[in-house]
Amino acid sequence: MNILNLLKVASNSLTKNKFRSFLTMLGIIIGVASVIAMMAIGQGSKQSIEEQISSLGTNILFVRPASQARGGVMMGVSNAKFLTVADADAIKKDCESVAAVSPMVRGSGQAVSSYDNWPTSIYGVNIDYFLIKNWEVQDGRLFSNKEIRSSQKVCLVGNTIVEKLFGEGADPVGESIRFNKIPFKIIGILKIKGESNFGQDQDDIIIAPHTTVQKRILAITHVQNIYVSAKSSDLSKEASEEIETLLRVRHKLVPSEESDFSIRTQEEIMSRLTSTSDILTALLSAIAGISLLVGGIGIMNIMYVSVTERTREIGLRMAVGGKGRDILLQFLIESILLSVVGGIIGIFFGIAVSSFVSNFMNWPVQITIDSIVLSFIFCSVIGIFFGWYPAKKAANLNPIDALRYE
């Protein structure tokens, strides 16, 4: 029997039992649809995390003091005094892959205006910081290098600070605030960044020259972090290596000593976060996969029923010249048809569910070709795997007994 005839015979017998065929397919439809929807939701959330992280800035590297254990006592990171402004300047000067460098010091305290007060943080940075963080000034201006050198008490404030200290929609450029009793003149307002991926309000910030924060607020000479941006994301690994080498030389570390600083790249942070979302996607897909498996077992069940029910038909087919192989193929093709047609319907259903989720629940959703191809292949395999035993059973029937079967 050629394949075309087999297809015709198999599809005939399926359409003769339309409702049963549909119910059998339903297991596969739901399974495939949920695999596709789950993978789309997982992929979408992963992508949105990636987007948020890259919105933090481009190709950023963070240099910070490594925590040190001495004599079994953990010395806190904040107490470490291993990075200096000179380190930051050296990185900028000597590392070829580096585009911008900013030292960073951070202090927290109470900000007070003539109207209100608000607990917040002050960041001491240089002008490169705005480049690194890809942050623009909405109103007013940035501080100048001259102002940094002379530790001027000027600052830029985020939108939250404006709201809390001056009220919504106010324009406080030129006004004065005090941070931990030190007066600062507001020279600019930062563009709204919104909430970070970690749930932190990025606009709740005051930015001042690092020299000012070092001297007036914290009374320190070191810096807590150094922010670096590589010339491109491809170069971030090289930049990291260059900084490592440079700082080890500057800190006079011998090869046996561990670095007293650590460098983290944007990619590392991203991979940490996306790995969480990857685990979630895998978990959801696994559950969806189980429902696909259950659908496959449903096919097997129906195929067994079908073989028993059609024992006489099988006997007749054998009597009129059907070989074992023909019978095997007929039932196998029936189960493959069930699972593949169910799979195709399931793919469309899954796409529909995904777009429903993205349109009505505003979840980030991304349907990938991978998930479609994967579930389609999986379906065909299910059809063959779960159809094989019933089909084999049919093919092994003895025609004499099958013809007499009641």
Binding site: M1, N2, N5, V9, N12, K16, R312, E313, G315, L316, R317, M318, A319, V320, G321, G322, K323, G324, R325, D326, P399, I400, L403
Partner: protein, 248 residues
Amino acid sequence: MSHKIIRIQNLVKNYDLGDLTVHALRGIDFDIDEGEFVAIMGPSGSGKSTLLNILGCLDKATSGNYFLDNVDVKKFSKDQLAVLRNEKIGFVFQSYNLLARTSALENVELPLFYNASVNAKERRERAAAALEAVGLLDRMNHFPNQLSGGQQQRVAIARSLVNDPVIILADEPTGNLDSRTSFDIMAVFQKLNSKGITIGLVTHESDIAQFTSRNITFRDGRINKEIVVENIKSASEALTKMPVELDY
């Protein structure tokens, strides 16, 4: 000497049921010539169904020779036997064995599906011709549940004809039918036989056997009696003579 469709020599069939061996056939010899209409008779358990299974290449003999159309089937594999059945044998069963929810035409087409050399167009034409031969061309799109028992058996006969077999083997084809319809079916067989088709028919009713040309009677796995019917009755004539009162 005419061409022998079936030649069996000292055919033995034993069924092994653990300790017990059932001797279904204990050494049988007979031939069926081309164009014959042979009735195989006997009470139940006499071995006639076993013989029919062997003649139909559905089962193999324990020993002895069986030549179908001069082909020794002893050495054939399962698949080769399937091809042999497809090309040389037509089956008619007591319970018709038509596929439900499948039109008469498609039922008749069935054997040709398993013959790769017949294309869709030819398959359809031959099935229609076979249906015409049993007088059911106008019912070709009817499903089995829309046909009477006699009509269903005619469809089954058409199916047995469609592959142009060397012999039609019928296993109690009238067993499920009333006597009038039985005669009607026998008339169909006689008509086909008159066109030169060889038929082997198993029955236990002697009034059915009287329409054939030779009766072989079995008892306990052996041939008990063999008679050539001198005066073959015509089933269609018997049908017209039948009182109408019996027709229900």
